[in-house]
Symmetry: C2
Subunit: 408 residues, 2 copies
């Protein structure tokens, strides 16, 4: 049986970024740039006042507390036609271009204006050229490389793109992912389960996990445990970039899913991983004509926590790859954390266990929670993520540092 | 001048959660519950097989490696009318209800079925009652309190709600927040700035920060520096839960914003905070008739990083309060982190400085970046958040532990 790391390597190597598309900035937050960006302009575009005050010649301040004549006023958005000559000053507002002749701005609080004489008295002795002036191109220079490909677009990156006039950019789009729950025991969440039935909660969780990961969920409802229904709905699912099947991959007699997938030319790449929960996970791909990327299919176990963990570890890795993350950075996000209490790990399968997470005194701390196993979804609601305990029948001592996988 | 903490206390105490609304589950991710939830059902609703295998009577295993007669088969979704008598077994699939008479499930891998004699040979000696059985109500009991008010709804909480049949829930809704940039120097992002002009990038950043924080942004474009335009657009903005003004609150002559706000009965609560960047921040409220909550207005400085920092610290605190966070938990998210290098803090104002963040060896580590001040938005794009340096003219030594504010 494959180890978790072997399976992750396979998933990561089998997926590639989707074809980049052009999008309006306001529809790109959280996505990765699919182009490099050089600045078409200088920022600021002109020498600019950083303070409200007076634009002056620094040379005039070689004398003690100079008195200068006010010759005009300049607000942001205006360009002065006036020149500041020796002995003169122009009132200037933050953001306005420095007028010709001036080379510094003295802030309002250090001045006193005499309305009758039209003169400004300065309570400052000496100033350097450039005081309170942001020079043209000081922040970004025309032609400068500003963003590399695969930069993640957060609010501040989007604002810098807007400043440079990029209204549309090339990004790696999020994949459309179909979700299909399988099983005769399932009823829609809106319905009341009859004897032996349960609600289709895995669809809810998978759809929300997809949304959280930035993908576009396409819920397909429930497929019954018969070949015709499964085949029809799986074919629908294969029209999207990825298909997640919930249930139908463990050893039961009615677990038709792998066989239906085979009949649809979806090749099994692996089935089962040495882990707990989530061992029965199935991963395959359907090759497409010519240069189109293969369709990826995950078959996740039906137990809710198994489904959740397989999504966090394997499906998220696949999603990150399709959205442009590099092979390495597409692996599950891990944090080195310190255990607060001893933890006994029973059994021989590496186990993802729900833990609470705390940042305190500069340390990352995790505390394993009470949890009854793969059916116990309620046991995950107090957790912030999971820790991987892999040594068979081993007591992990408090203080041990190891891998924590945050859920977010 | 107010300190940061004083200003935060004021913001937090002046805001309250919006009136809860009922929403379909699929439109609630990330929001806080505005009701307590007790389970209307047992989970699982029946004693349930956790493995594919055979439903048996544990008493039959008191003899060595028993041989049992197969009397039927049970898949998930079916309820058996058959009873398992001594010496008998029923083939059962994961998720199916345990049939009457049986009290354990032996997994498929530990059995061998003889088709001719219709008998199952078990490769296991002794089993306990309850083996591989999840009992009715073991995960959740009918009437049990499952979620308290103000639980944050993540995928797993939504799945648990779905399991209990809650298709709609009461949540604290996200606020609608108007964004109005002010200034004669601004042009729309789509336009090419003329002499002395710059693009309206603060709107882009504020809108995206609002989205990231889970609020609903309502961009109102640009108001010019004259009373009529400002007043008309501010009135529009006051129709929403909150209004963010960008620019127009520093000391300049054209900073009309506070005076227009006053004329619209928006009362100044504070103006200026002892911090850098962001000192000129303005905060006020307009009281509403009767029991409706007051409209909140933030006036943020126009420098891009000042705007960004004021949003992260003050506006996010306000947003969290409107979305149901308690006063304490609505404060900025802080992480205790360890400085990787010495850092000289110049000046006497507490300063939020862009830093890179790393989790390594169980430690939270931060490294201050090169940064040219409040106009230098580009200097923030390599940062993961900011650190607050507050001691005047002080060298913070490598290894010092203090507060890091992640951007996310």
């Amino acid at each position: 049986m494959l180890s978790i790391d072997e399976a992750l390597d396979i998933v990561s190597s089998r997926l590639a970024p989707l074809t980049p598309v052009e999008r309006h900035l306001h529809d790109t937050q959280g996505l990765l740039l699919a182009q490099t960006i050089s600045s078409p302009l200088n920022s600021p575009p002109f020498d600019k006042a950083c303070m409200d005050g007076y634009a002056v010649r620094s040379a005039d301040f070689e004398q003690d507390k100079p008195v200068l004549k006010l010759i005009g006023e300049l607000t942001a958005g205006q360009v002065s036609s006036q020149k500041v000559n020796p002995g003169e000053a122009i009132r200037i507002m933050t953001g306005a271009p420095i007028p010709a002749g001036a080379d510094a701005v003295v802030q309002h609080e250090l001045t006193e204006f005499n309305k009758h004489s039209n003169e400004i008295v300065f309570k400052i002795d000496e100033i350097r050229a450039g005081l309170n002036v942001l020079n043209r191109g000081e922040i970004m220079r025309e032609g400068e490389a500003v963003f590399t490909e695969k930069t993640r677009l957060r609010p501040q990156e989007l604002a810098v793109l807007a400043e440079m006039g990029f209204v549309k950019v090339q990004i790696f789009p999020p994949p459309r992912v179909a979700v299909l729950a399988t099983g005769d025991e399932l009823v829609a969440v809106e319905e009341t389960p009859g004897p032996g039935q349960i609600r289709n909660t895995n669809e809810v969780m998978l759809v929300e996990q997809l949304r959280q990961a930035g993908a576009i969920p396409v819920p397909l409802g429930i497929a019954r445990d018969n070949r015709d229904d499964l085949q029809a709905k799986i074919e629908l699912g294969l029209q999207h970039d990825m298909l997640i099947l919930s249930g139908g991959v463990s050893a039961g007699k009615l677990d038709l899913v792998p066989s239906v997938l085979e009949s649809l030319d979806v090749q099994e790449i692996f089935h089962k991983v040495q882990m707990k929960p989530g061992k029965p996970i199935w991963f395959g791909q359907q090759n497409q004509a010519s240069d189109r990327p293969p369709k990826t299919v995950f078959g996740l176990p039906g137990n809710p926590v198994s489904s959740m963990v397989c999504f966090e570890i394997f499906v998220k890795t696949a999603l990150r790859r399709t959205m442009g993350d590099d092979a390495l950075s597409s692996l599950p996000i891990m944090v080195c954390a310190r255990l607060t209490h001893d933890h006994l790990h029973k059994g021989d399968r590496p186990t993802y266990w729900p833990v609470q997470f705390e940042l305190a005194e500069g340390e990352v701390r995790i505390t394993p929670l009470d949890w009854r196993g793969s059916s116990d979804l309620k046991g995950t609601v107090l957790a912030d993520g999971m820790a991987l305990f892999s040594k068979p029948d081993f007591v992990y001592k408090a203080g041990t540092i190891f891998n924590f996988y945050p859920w977010k």
